[in-house]
């Protein structure tokens, strides 16, 4: 007889999450896991019958954590539907804002969600235990005040460019409604300069350029060896990771997905694609199908192009409100690791080809992305041309479809919109954590997190704590997941 254990309510994640473990009969290891999203709001159905541009007011409110990425996907879906290009300044401002949301998210995740799990009695025998308790204990840790200050001051970027965060409506299909003067441009550079010094002094203990240039696993190990444990928060994480063997835990199937993101003139900063059968393939969105079998939703499966979301709360075997999206019928992992790997980033390629997808690689690549994106934000700010237009004006057709793809902090986000008689007739969105925390698909195959929890030992307090690290290494956002 297997015993079932609920880990819920799982705190320090975004939104409502429960995970049910089935243990073997001797209660020594996890036979299988079920990831449960416990809140259903039906956001896609809120858009039906609304004016096309209303998507820009409604979709950011799917998620207060990833609000800008939702806005960007919606603006892109409308731009695709209306077939209009985005003004170059509009691209720059959009990219700055989306990257800023990601940067803020990486900080929040690292300090408030992920690191407090090491300030735990399970690790009281570790040499680093006391130092980590002092610095990272939830709510009272010494690092949180400085992080929140740096984060809030950095988010002045949002005040200047987006009006507020979350839930800005500055994003338009043709660009942004905010124009930027030279003086504002200089103010933005000042904000970034302050933020960089926080990152360099506290988070990394090194120049952002140096961190960004770490090209492979050997160079990362060299960096770690040449800096003591307490040199910076990054070095503390690397030390803990080594001490607990975090590269050895949290593997998913290793199939990776990323959508193109950060549009620049004739290119994307992240090109996007699918890593399947050991090669990166060009992205084809018609390979995406959502399976409904274990979701409390009607139907067997649907493509987001003409998908539907109707609750069926008493459906047999269903255990979550989340559909199971699959690409070419395959389970995919998405996120910071995936988009950098697919983009050919040399550190991501080195880490993933050496040790696969795991807690350590997800966290390292997220932190390195924090350094890289901050430098990139600075470049985009410098590229703004205050005298040129920020927004192309749009004429909306009465009928048609549009697809809006982007990356959110947590990975690939897509919006699929159908318009009839000038109104939205169908709207579907597939969010990053819908991939990572998906239930079983129609073939009974588990999603990325469920796979990474199966067969793990479940005996010591350290075993149990490792599950918490694995779960949070995906940086789940449950609000986006079900929407």
């Amino acid at each position: 007889m297997t015993r079932k254990i609920s880990l819920g309510p799982l705190n320090r994640v975004e939104g409502d999450l429960d995970i049910q473990l089935s243990l073997d009969e001797n209660e020594q290891y996890i036979e299988s896991a079920q990831v449960k999203s416990t809140l259903y709001r039906g956001f896609e159905n809120l858009l039906t019958g609304k004016a096309v541009m209303d998507a820009l007011a409604i979709t950011p409110r799917v998620c207060g954590i990833c609000s800008i990425s939702q806005s960007v996907a919606a603006a892109k879906a409308i731009a695709d539907f209306a077939q209009i290009p985005m003004a170059a300044n509009g691209q720059r401002v959009t990219n700055i804002l989306l990257a800023s949301e990601m940067v803020a998210d990486i900080l929040t995740h690292f300090y408030l969600f992920f690191m407090p799990d090491f300030a735990n009695p399970a690790y009281s025998n570790k040499a680093w235990s006391e130092e980590i308790n002092v610095n990272f204990t939830a709510v009272s840790g010494n690092q949180h005040g400085a992080m929140l200050k740096a984060r809030a001051e950095f988010l002045h970027v949002m005040g200047i460019l987006a009006g507020k965060w979350p839930h800005s409506m500055v994003f338009q299909p043709g660009g942004v409604s905010k124009t930027v003067s030279m003086s504002e441009q200089l103010k933005l550079l000042g904000i970034i300069a302050n933020f960089k010094s926080y990152l360099e002094q506290v988070v990394f203990g090194d120049k952002l350029e140096t961190i960004s240039n770490i090209a492979n696993q050997a160079e990362l190990e060299n960096w770690q060896q040449s800096h003591p444990f307490n040199h910076s928060n990054f070095s503390m994480f690397l030390g803990i990771s080594q001490s607990l063997n975090l590269p050895g835990f949290g593997a998913s199937s290793g199939q990776l997905l990323a959508f193109p993101a950060f549009e620049q003139e004739n290119s994307h900063y992240y090109q996007g694609g699918a890593f399947l059968d050991n090669q990166v393939q060009a992205l084809a969105t018609n390979n995406i199908i959502e399976h409904h079998k274990f979701a409390k939703l009607y139907g067997e499966q649907s493509s987001p192009v003409n998908g539907f979301t109707q609750p069926d709360i008493n459906k047999a075997d269903a255990y979550t409100w989340c559909k199971a999206p699959r690409y070419n019928s395959k389970v995919m992992e998405t996120g910071s690791l995936a988009r950098q790997f697919i983009n050919g980033d040399s550190l991501a390629q080195s880490l993933v080809s050496n040790t696969g997808t795991n807690i350590h690689n997800r966290m390292v690549l997220r932190l390195v992305e924090l350094a890289k994106l901050t430098l990139q934000i600075e470049r985009w700010i410098k590229d703004i041309e205050p005298k040129n237009t920020f927004c192309n004006q749009v004429e909306l057709p009465k009928e048609g479809q549009g697809i809006g793809l982007s990356e959110a902090a947590r990975g690939s986000l897509g919006h699929w919109m159908t318009v009839e008689n000038g109104k939205i007739s169908n709207y579907q969105l597939v969010a990053p954590t819908s991939w990572n925390f998906s239930p079983r698909d129609n073939q009974g195959v588990s999603g990325a997190l469920e796979q990474s929890l199966a067969k793990l030992p479940y005996q010591s307090e350290q075993d149990k704590q490792m599950l918490q690290h694995i779960i949070r290494s995906f940086d789940p956002c449950m609000l986006c997941t079900v929407h």
């Binding site: 975004e14 809140l39 004016a51 002045h156 009006g163 979350p166």
Partner: protein, 340 residues
């Protein structure tokens, strides 16, 4: 040592955005603000260290009166569907509907705070026919009642305090909590729909940097243009009870400052304006939603007068992304004309 106040934060049918907004608090940050006001955070799902089994223990201790719950913060509308069961939002690991837990704890709390417009009035989750049957804690849009009923009073004889906004500004939340901690928050501090007066006795219009354009009804026609957003682009700042342009968001911002409409997100029912959000509904060319307390005839008379008197500078700049005519250029022009 001053008495500690126990605060518990629940999340339901919302988006988590008010917590994200609260993390933007400056001078001080949220954790220092709680510490300074002697707030003991019993539980917040996003922030607490507590392993999950402590959560049910905390709930038991509150319901059995072992712990006094001073401040209950709820973020997100109460989800009552389907068919009144609350099954659309079950508490993880507890197997009861979140709405039931909110009801139980609201009977124990000294102050009950609805964080954000969904918690107060239903908000965006209520829009489009309210398919998941969400309720605000004491309202459904303008209609009183909600989850807890119109007669509900917390242990301090206060109705639910509605910190409306989508999201709520971090200071709207913190200043309410800080005032409670100082024992300075009573029924005199809330307005007719139970929002803290300290931010709703202003209009979002106050201190709007587009005020000169508004004075002359020199209006933007398209996103990105500098003019006033009220006549064409859906801006409701002249009706919206909030101090956004005085207090500012993220240090510098407000919706109109970033070139888009105020959609009156602190108001009950803002999610269903009856028109496209960023398009001003008009009757015979005149916007329907005029400033609440201004006689229509006067507004129209003043508007036509001020439109006729609009200086070239303002008319031109209103329809442009950049300033085409600056005040000094305009002044020289007028001087040149006078000299002729």
């Amino acid at each position: 040592m001053p008495k500690q106040l126990n605060l518990l934060w629940l999340q339901s049918g919302g988006c988590g955005g008010c917590t994200m907004s609260l993390l933007n608090a400056e001078q001080p940050n949220i954790f220092d603000a709680f510490k300074n006001s002697h707030i003991n955070l019993l539980w917040h799902a996003s922030l607490s260290a507590n392993p999950s089994n402590n959560f049910t223990q905390i709930i038991d201790d509150i319901t059995s009166n072992k712990i006094q719950l001073d401040i209950l913060c709820v973020e997100g509308a109460a989800v009552t569907g389907p068919d009144g069961t609350g099954g659309f939002h079950m508490v993880s690991g507890m197997d009861i509907p979140m709405m039931t837990l909110i009801e139980q704890l609201a009977q124990k709390s000294r102050y009950t705070l609805a964080i954000g417009s969904c918690t107060a009035y239903g908000g965006m989750t209520r829009s489009n026919k309210n398919q998941t049957d969400v309720k605000g804690l004491q309202y459904i849009a303008e209609q009183k009642g909600g989850l807890l009923g119109s007669d509900y009073l917390s242990k301090s004889d206060m109705p639910v305090i509605n910190i409306a906004g989508c999201p709520a500004h971090p200071e709207w939340i913190l200043h309410t909590i800080q005032a409670i901690a100082l024992d300075k928050f009573d029924t005199n501090e809330i307005d007719t729909v139970q929002r803290p007066k300290f931010y709703t006795e202003h209009l979002a219009h106050h201190a709007c940097p587009k005020n000169e354009y508004y004075e002359y009804k020199a209006s933007a026609a398209k996103p990105g243009q500098a003019g006033c957003l009220m006549e064409n682009l859906g801006c409701k700042a002249t009706q919206a009870a909030a101090d956004c342009n005085i207090r500012l968001w993220n240090g510098y911002g407000s919706c109109p400052k970033a070139g888009y409409a105020c959609i009156n997100c602190t108001a009950p029912g803002f999610e269903e304006p009856g028109h496209a959000f960023c398009q001003t509904p008009k009757l015979a060319g005149i916007p329907i939603g005029l400033p609440t307390d201004m006689p229509k005839a006067w507004f129209i008379a003043l508007s036509s007068l001020s439109k006729a008197a609009t200086p070239e500078r303002i008319k031109t700049n209103a329809r442009s992304e950049t300033i085409k005519i600056s005040p000094d250029m305009a002044k020289n022009k007028v001087n040149a004309k006078t000299k002729k």
